[in-house]
Symmetry: C2
Subunit: 672 residues, 2 copies
C-alpha cells in the first residue's frame, strides 16, 4: 500500500467513526458528537495500527487496554467496536444508542458490551483507573514474565479529565512508578462545555506532565502520521507518556466545528448534511461502504496471530503455573484461604484478643496474604495507622514491580480509582487503606466500583469518635450512613477480631461487590468467644447474646459499640428485663436474608434499641419509628476517646435508659 | 536593631514556637510536633515581619488571612496566636491542647478561637479554601477600592496538601485567575507519614506550579532572610506564588529530626530534653522568657497603626457606601430581598410555570442577584445546564475582578472549597453549580462547610434518573440520602417554581448552615398554585393537598415526585380513599419543627407511603417499618427519562398499588 492510498484509507476509516457518531446522536436526539468527530483520527490510528486486541476474543488476557476517559464520547468507542467486528456491537445497537436495554448507553458501561474495559463518564476516573490497569500489568508481568503478560494501557482523555483533581493524583502516581506502558492521548481541543477552554484554564499541560515525570509531546491530532510517530515514541519511552493531540471538536461539521455547540447536543439535520458534504461522505445514515468496512475488519484481524502465539506460549507453560495463572485471571480464590480463615478464627476463639479491629485486621491479613498471592495492598500514606502492610509483601515500586504493597501517597481518590483498574484488569485483588472519614475523598471511585460490580476492598480505619484527639475533621459520623446508602457496596463494621476475620472472608468472596471494612483505632474486647464454622457475619445481623428468658428488649449494635450493647444487656438483665444483643456487622447482607430470618432478628422483642457511634440515619429501617437510637446527632470533638463516648452519651447507661423509656412507653400503651 | 541581634531574636522567637509545640503535644500525649518545629522559622518571619493583623481586633476586615493547610501542625498556629497576644489563646489553653472543650483542638477549628481563619486537617482543603479567600479579596477590592480592601492570603502547606487532587484544582484556578495576593509557603520537608516522601512522590513541585501559571521558588526554610526575601518577591509578583521552603521536620529533636518519627506522636521526655539542649532553650515546659515574649508582643502590635488608619479611611467613606460595606461584612441580607422573593412568588402563583426546577432556579436567581449584590455565582463547567448565570453579573476573571460569575472549570471540589473560602472571608455569598451526582467530588469541602457552619449554596441540578440518557454514571440515586446524613447541611429539593423560590430564600437566610438545592433537568408542573406569604418550605414538610375527608393515606414526596404523589392521590380519592399529599422539600428543617407539628404531619393517617426517585435509605424515619416506599433500589440506566420512570416503577400507579397493599394489611390487622 502506498502512503497516499493509506492516507485515503485512513481518512475514510476515520470518517466512518464520525458519521456513525453523528448519526447515532441524531437518532437518539441526545449525546455528544463533538468528541468522536474530533478524536476520530486518533482512534483510527490507534486501533488500526497499534492496539493489540482480538474482537473474536475480547477477554484475551494479554490484550492492550483502551480506556475512553472522556466517556461522553462513547459513540467513538461504540463505532470503533462495531467497525472492528466485535460481534455484540451490531449496527442495530448503534441505532439504539442511549435507549433502554441497549449495549450503547450514554456513557460506556463496563459489562454492557465486550471491548468496554471500564465505566467512564465522571471525568478523571478513566485516566486514574487506567493507572491501576498499568500497575496490574507490570505486577503480573513481574510474576508471569513477558511470555504471558506484555501489554499496554491506552487512554483517550479530554480537557475535563485533566482539570479534575483526581488526574493529579493519577499522574503523580504513574510518574512515580514509571509506568511506561501507560500512554495517554489527550484530545486537546481547547473547548469546554462553557465555551473556550481559556475561560477557566490557562495551564501548560505538557509542562505539568513533565513535572510529574512523564514523557510529553504535542502534535496535530488530525495528522495520522504524526499520531503514529508519537505513539511509537511513547512506546519507546521509559516513562508514562502524554500525547497532546491538537484537534478540532466536531471536526467536519461545517458551521459548528471548533465550538462548544458540538459538545453535548445533536448537530441537527442540516449540519449533519453539511458535515456529510464536508467529509465527502455521501452515504445514508448508519451505512458504511464495503471498502471502508473491509479496511476496519482487516484492522480487527491484525492481532489474531499474536493472540494465537500467546495461546501457544500459555499452553507450553507447566501445568501448575498455568493453572495458577488461569485461576488468578478467573478471579477465583485459592483453596487454602478457607483453611487460613478457619485457623485464624480458631486462634481468636482461643486467645480472645482485645486489639483494635485495625490490628485484628492486620492479623487476618497476615494469614490471608501468604495464601492469596492475588492480593495487592496499600495505603494512602497511613500504613502504620491502617495496619495494611504484612510481612513479606515487598514494596511495589519502579524498581520492584513484583512487590505487593503500594505506598499510594496522600492520594485517597487516586488509590481508589487505581484499585478499580487493578480489579478490572484481573489477576489481582486490590485492597487499600485510609481513614473512614476520607472515604469522602475517594467516593466517586467507590461509586464506580459499586456500579461496575467489581471486587475492591477498602480498609477504613479510625471509624468513629473513637479515634479521639484528632477531632471532628477526622471523626466520621455520617460516613457509615452515606456509604450504606450506596447500592451494591458492602459496608462492614466488625465488632472484634473474630468478626474482622469473617468480614475479610466476605470481602474476598464478594466478586461482584466492592467492600468497605470499617475498623477502630481503639482496642475492643472480644465479644465472640466460640469458634463457629459458619461465617456469622454473612447474615449481616445475628443474635450474638440471647436473652435469659422471653426477650423484652433487643439491643442492636455494630463494631465498637457491640461491647456497649453487651454491657447494657447485663444491667437490664440484672433488673429483670430479658435482653438480647444483635450484632449488625453489615446492613446490606442482612437485607439480603430471607424474610423469615429478618423478621426473627427484627421482631423478636417489643422494644428495640440500637447503639452506634455515628448518626442514626438509616437505622430506622430496623428500629421503626418507635425504636430508640443511641449515637451521634452532630459532629464530634477533639478529646481522649473515652471522654468523647461519655460526652456524647454513647454508653451502656444511655442504652439502658433508652430501653427503660421504651419499656415504660409500652406499659403505658398496654395499661389503659 | 542590628541584623545580628535580629537574627538572635528570630532564633529565640522560633524556638518559642518549637518549645510550646513539643510541650503541648507531650502534655496531651498526642499530636504532631514535627511540623511546628520544622516550620517555626517560616511562621516567625511571616507573623513578625509580614502578616497584617491585629490581635486586639481579630476580625478586622482588611487583615491578611493566614491558612494553616497542614492542619495537623495546629500547635504552630496556637503557639503563634498565644505569643502574639490573642487574648483568648491563653497558656492554659495550650496546656489543654486536644482536650474536651478547649480552644485548642487537634486540628484548627474555625470558631473555636479568634485567629483561626478556617478549619483544616483534611489535606488540600486549606490551600483550596485560601483560593476562595483570595478571590473574595480581589472581588471586594474591585468594588470597594484599595482604601478598604487591600490584603493578602498566606498559606502554609505540606507535602500531603500538594499530593491531594484538590490542590490541582485550586492551583489551576488560582493561576488562571492570576491571584497574585495568594502566597503559599510550602513546608518542603521530604517526609510523609509512611516515611521518606520519595516512597510515593517524585514530582517537581516548582515546575508543576509554574505550569499552572504561578511564580515559584525554592529556599532554605530555616534561613529567615531567605524567607523574608522570598515573601517580598512574592508580594511583587503578578502571579500567585509558591515558596518551597526546605525544612527539617522536627527541627531540634536531636535523634528524631528529619524523620517521620516526629510527625504524628509525642517526642517523649528524653527527646524533648535533648531538643531543649540542642535549641539552647533551658526553660521549663510552657515557660517563655520575658525577652522572647516581648519580641512576640511587639510583633503583635506591628499592624495596629495600619488598622487605625484603615478605620479612619472607613469612617471617611460616605454613609451609604459605608453602610453597604458593613452590611456585606456582617453577612446580613439587604432588605430588598424579601420584596424580590414575594414578587417572584406572586408571579409564579399567577403564571404557574411548568419549567424544570433548574430553570425556575434561574428565574429566582434573576430576581435575587440584582438586589443581593453579595452573591458570586459560578459553575464547574456546566453553566448552561445548571442555569446559574443571570444577566448582568459579569464574568470574574483576571481582567475583571468585579465580575460576579466564575467559570470554575471542571473543578467541582476546588469550586466547593473556594466557595468555603469566600464565605469565610466574608462580604460575599457564594453559590455554585454542578450535577447532583458530582456532589461526590466536592463532598470533603461540603463537609467542612457544614462543620464550620458557613453559608455556601450548592446548586445541584440533574437530580435523579430524570436526567435520562446520560445514564447511571450521571444519575444520582444515593446522593440525597448521603447528603441528608451529614449534620448541619440543608438538603432541599423543591417540587416546582414556587418551592424553588422558597428554598432559595431559606438558603440565603441560613447564615450558619450550607445548603444543597437539588433541581431537575426535566420539566415539572406547578403544584403550588396560590401565593402564600409564609415560606411553607421552611417547615421542611407540609400538607400540600388535603384529603377530601378523614384521611386514610398520606403520600409523602419531594421534588419531581410531588406531582406523581398528587396523581396517585387523585386515583385513590376516586376510589374512595381519602388521601393527602405532604411535600417534603427538606428533611432537616422538618426535624427542627416542634413535636406537635411533626406528629400532625407524620401521624395523620394509618397508611404512609413516600415516593422519591432515589433510594429509600433514611425515609424510614418518617414512614416507620410499616410505611411504603416507591423509589430506586439500585443504580439507574441510560434511556429517555419518561421510560426510566416507567422502567423503575416510579409512577402514580405504583404509589396507588403500594397504598392499597398497606390498606389491605391494615384491614387484615383490624379484622380478626
Amino acid at each position: 500500500m502506498t502512503e497516499k492510498s493509506a492516507q485515503v484509507d485512513h481518512r475514510a476509516m476515520a470518517n466512518a467513526i464520525r458519521a456513525l457518531a453523528m448519526d447515532a446522536v441524531e437518532a437518539a436526539k441526545s449525546g455528544h458528537p463533538g468528541m468522536p468527530m474530533g478524536a476520530a483520527d486518533i482512534a483510527t490510528v490507534l486501533f488500526s495500527r497499534f492496539l493489540k486486541f482480538d474482537p473474536k476474543a475480547p477477554d484475551w488476557a494479554d490484550r492492550d487496554r483502551f480506556v475512553l476517559s472522556a466517556g461522553h464520547g462513547s459513540m467513538l468507542l461504540y463505532a470503533v467496536l462495531h467497525l472492528l467486528g466485535y460481534e455484540q456491537m451490531t449496527i442495530e445497537e448503534l441505532k439504539r444508542f442511549r435507549q433502554l436495554g441497549s449495549r450503547t448507553p450514554g456513557h460506556p458501561e463496563y459489562g454492557h458490551a465486550p471491548g468496554v474495559e471500564t465505566t467512564t463518564g465522571p471525568l478523571g476516573q478513566g485516566l486514574a483507573t487506567a493507572v491501576g490497569m498499568a500497575i496490574a500489568e507490570r505486577h503480573l508481568n513481574a510474576e508471569f514474565s513477558d511470555d504471558l503478560v506484555d501489554h499496554r494501557t491506552y487512554v483517550l482523555a479530554g480537557d475535563g479529565d485533566l482539570m479534575e483533581g483526581v488526574s493529579h493524583e493519577a499522574i503523580g502516581l504513574a510518574g512515580h512508578l514509571k509506568l511506561s506502558r501507560l500512554i495517554v492521548l489527550y484530545d486537546d481541543n481547547s473547548i469546554s462545555i462553557d465555551g473556550a477552554l481559556d475561560l477557566a484554564e490557562s495551564g501548560d499541560a505538557l509542562k505539568r506532565f513533565e513535572a510529574a515525570g512523564w514523557h510529553a509531546v504535542r502534535i496535530d491530532g488530525h495528522d495520522p502520521e504524526a499520531i503514529a510517530a508519537a505513539i511509537e515514541a511513547a512506546q519507546e519511552s521509559d516513562r508514562p507518556s502524554l500525547i497532546a493531540c491538537r484537534t478540532i471538536i466536531g471536526y467536519g461539521a461545517p458551521n459548528k466545528q471548533g465550538t462548544a455547540a458540538t459538545h453535548g447536543a445533536p448537530l441537527g439535520a442540516e449540519e449533519v448534511a453539511g458535515a456529510r458534504k464536508a467529509l465527502d461522505w455521501p452515504y445514508p445514515p448508519f451505512e458504511i461502504p464495503s471498502a471502508v468496512r473491509d479496511a476496519w475488519r482487516i484492522a480487527g484481524l491484525r492481532s489474531g496471530q499474536a493472540r494465537r502465539a500467546w495461546e501457544k506460549r500459555l499452553a507450553a507453560v507447566d501445568r501448575e503455573r498455568r493453572g495458577e495463572f488461569e485461576r488468578r485471571l478467573r478471579g477465583e480464590l485459592p483453596v487454602d484461604l478457607a483453611t487460613a480463615i478457619r485457623e485464624i478464627k480458631e486462634r481468636f476463639a482461643a486467645e480472645r484478643p482485645d486489639h483494635a479491629s485495625r490490628k485484628a485486621s492486620e492479623m487476618v491479613l497476615s494469614a490471608i496474604n501468604p495464601v492469596v498471592p492475588d492480593t495487592v495492598g496499600g495505603s494512602a500514606d497511613l500504613t502504620g495507622s491502617n495496619n495494611t502492610l504484612t510481612p513479606g509483601l515487598g514494596i511495589f515500586s519502579a524498581k520492584n514491580y513484583a512487590g505487593r504493597y503500594i505506598h499510594y501517597g496522600v492520594r485517597e481518590h487516586g488509590m481508589a480509582a487505581a484499585m478499580n483498574g487493578m480489579a478490572l484488569h484481573g489477576g489481582v485483588i486490590p485492597y487499600g487503606g485510609t481513614f473512614l472519614v476520607f472515604s469522602d475523598y475517594s467516593r466517586p471511585a467507590i461509586r464506580l466500583a459499586a456500579l461496575m460490580g467489581i471486587r475492591v476492598i477498602h480498609v477504613m480505619t479510625h471509624d468513629s469518635i473513637g479515634l479521639g484527639e484528632d477531632g471532628p475533621t477526622h471523626q466520621p459520623v455520617e460516613h457509615l450512613a452515606s456509604l450504606r446508602a450506596m447500592p451494591n457496596l458492602l459496608v462492614m463494621r466488625p465488632a472484634d477480631a473474630m468478626e474482622t476475620a469473617e468480614c475479610w472472608q466476605l470481602a474476598l468472596e464478594s466478586r461482584a461487590t466492592p467492600s468497605v471494612i470499617a475498623l477502630t483505632r481503639q482496642n475492643l474486647p472480644a465479644v465472640r468467644h466460640a469458634y463457629s464454622d459458619e461465617n456469622l457475619c454473612a447474615r449481616g445481623a445475628y443474635e450474638l447474646v440471647p436473652a435469659s428468658g422471653n426477650a423484652m428488649v433487643t439491643v442492636f449494635a455494630s463494631g465498637s459499640e457491640v461491647s456497649i450493647a453487651i454491657a447494657a444487656r447485663s444491667v437490664l438483665e440484672r433488673e429483670g428485663v430479658p435482653t438480647r444483643v444483635v450484632s449488625v456487622p453489615c446492613f446490606e447482607l442482612f437485607e439480603a436474608q430471607p424474610p423469615e430470618y429478618r423478621r426473627a432478628i427484627l421482631e423478636g422483642t417489643p422494644v428495640r434499641v440500637a447503639v452506634e457511634a455515628a448518626v442514626g440515619f438509616g437505622w430506622e429501617r430496623f428500629l421503626g419509628r418507635d425504636g430508640g437510637f443511641v449515637g451521634m446527632t452532630g459532629f464530634g470533638a477533639s478529646a481522649p476517646y473515652k471522654q468523647l463516648y461519655e460526652h456524647f452519651g454513647i454508653t451502656a447507661d444511655a442504652v439502658v435508659a433508652e430501653a427503660r423509656r421504651r419499656l415504660a412507653a409500652l406499659d403505658q400503651a398496654i395499661e389503659p
